[in-house]
Symmetry: C2
Subunit: 299 residues, 2 copies
Amino acid sequence: MGSSGAVPAYGRYPSAQLINLHNEYLLVDCGEGAQMQLARFDLPLMRINHIFISHLHGDHYLGLPGLLFTMHLHHRENDLHIYSPKGLDDILTTQLYHSRSVPCFRIVLHTLNTHTSELILEHPHFTVHSFPLYHKLPCCGFIFREKPKPRRIDPEKIPPGLPPSRLVALKNGEDIYDDAGNLLYKNEDYTLPPRPSHSYAYCSDTAYDEHLIQHIQGTDVIYHEATFISADEAKARETLHSTAAEAATIAKMAGTKKLLLGHFSARYRDLDVLLEEARALFPESELAIEGKTFYIHQI
Amino acid sequence: MGSSGAVPAYGRYPSAQLINLHNEYLLVDCGEGAQMQLARFDLPLMRINHIFISHLHGDHYLGLPGLLFTMHLHHRENDLHIYSPKGLDDILTTQLYHSRSVPCFRIVLHTLNTHTSELILEHPHFTVHSFPLYHKLPCCGFIFREKPKPRRIDPEKIPPGLPPSRLVALKNGEDIYDDAGNLLYKNEDYTLPPRPSHSYAYCSDTAYDEHLIQHIQGTDVIYHEATFISADEAKARETLHSTAAEAATIAKMAGTKKLLLGHFSARYRDLDVLLEEARALFPESELAIEGKTFYIHQI
């Protein structure tokens, strides 16, 4: 929903992405205007139960208070979980105090460890890990991983008349024995391999840092900030951001299938220079621009 | 730049208006996304020296931190004056602390008196007064008034060969005497009356409140919030907002020339219901929607 760096420009918005993972909607960063972008792209604001804030630079969280207030005015009831480096509680509490507001739902703030990778969310179908990024403020990336999926019943091989309880057992990956303990059905003879599990890594904001490869190695898709082109590398060094070439280098070293680029500086009206620079090193690069959807299970 | 009430909807943004008064750009309220709207309408963000925040509900100030940060990244040098009820210093300081940022320009915070009208800005060509509004939080309206303008030299009546010093004296409204003290030129014989001075009043957010008429009486143009239609009057009572009919009633009683309506509830997709309701009582009503410019000196 937002592909812009710190200064929004040319209709681009600050960082915000929405992930639909097994019908859970996960918001990753929440730059100013995120709630308007959710509405603009007809995305289900009220179904977001988890928000991940990478760090406390304004372009990554300033859309949060307005989003929370809109959820309140829409009479949200479910708990909302927010994962952020230390400080967000202070910011939100100060704002709520001065607006004399008490949200009608529970906000559960989870403070991120910005020094080491941690499991921060375990869902029946997926996990989310945080890991440290190298930026001016304590900052985390996030990895979203589907858990291994069950083997699937092979409809062509199921014995006719198999009782439902045994079908469920096969679905659950079990071998089936008779009462005397003899193997009746070996699971893998009647099932197909599980569908692949997918993964997505979010890396923003960060200087070029090969330390992060250990965390994101082998993820299917990586989002990596690409604030500058190589010609402006000095600016990237100074601000602890990355160039498109550096993002591509990380993607290549991490063995990913696709690289998404974002957090573009306002100095580039036309983003093709960034895309071309990345594709020269890593052809499977894309611009993660406003309104664009990527289907990770199809990659 | 923003005509929406608390929940932005249908592409409408939260409250924000830009006033150009003798080439000073004054920002009135600064809802989320104001900096994007400034860019969208090609308005000069860096020339804003005064920002007036009516109250500390999020939809009236959440665009401020991002705007300040963008000014910082654009290397602003001039002081920036912000007028707000108590609390904004606390909010901004907390955010700056956690983002480890120090703006490269001076922010001068002026705390508004929310109990009585006050002169808050005196400029060579205009004044700005605040006055209390009746809302859930301490809240101020603002009145922008051009000072009386000088009489204008009547080119058809100026005596030929009049020395420039005497021309300036006439321009300054003086009568001209000879050394013996005899009246040579009576000012009004050689000058035209001054052009009219204009005024604009901003009233948001407020319940219907006839107390505010004393403050805005006779202003050329009044902006008055019109969050609801009369059919939803109970909602207006509960939330201390106004209906379009109430805004029109205030405009009529204040003897204004034009009424601008805004702060529309998300429950109305089509705003014509609000406009029609106001016009039935006060025909010179307009919707102050995104991108719309009103030329007050032509009204």
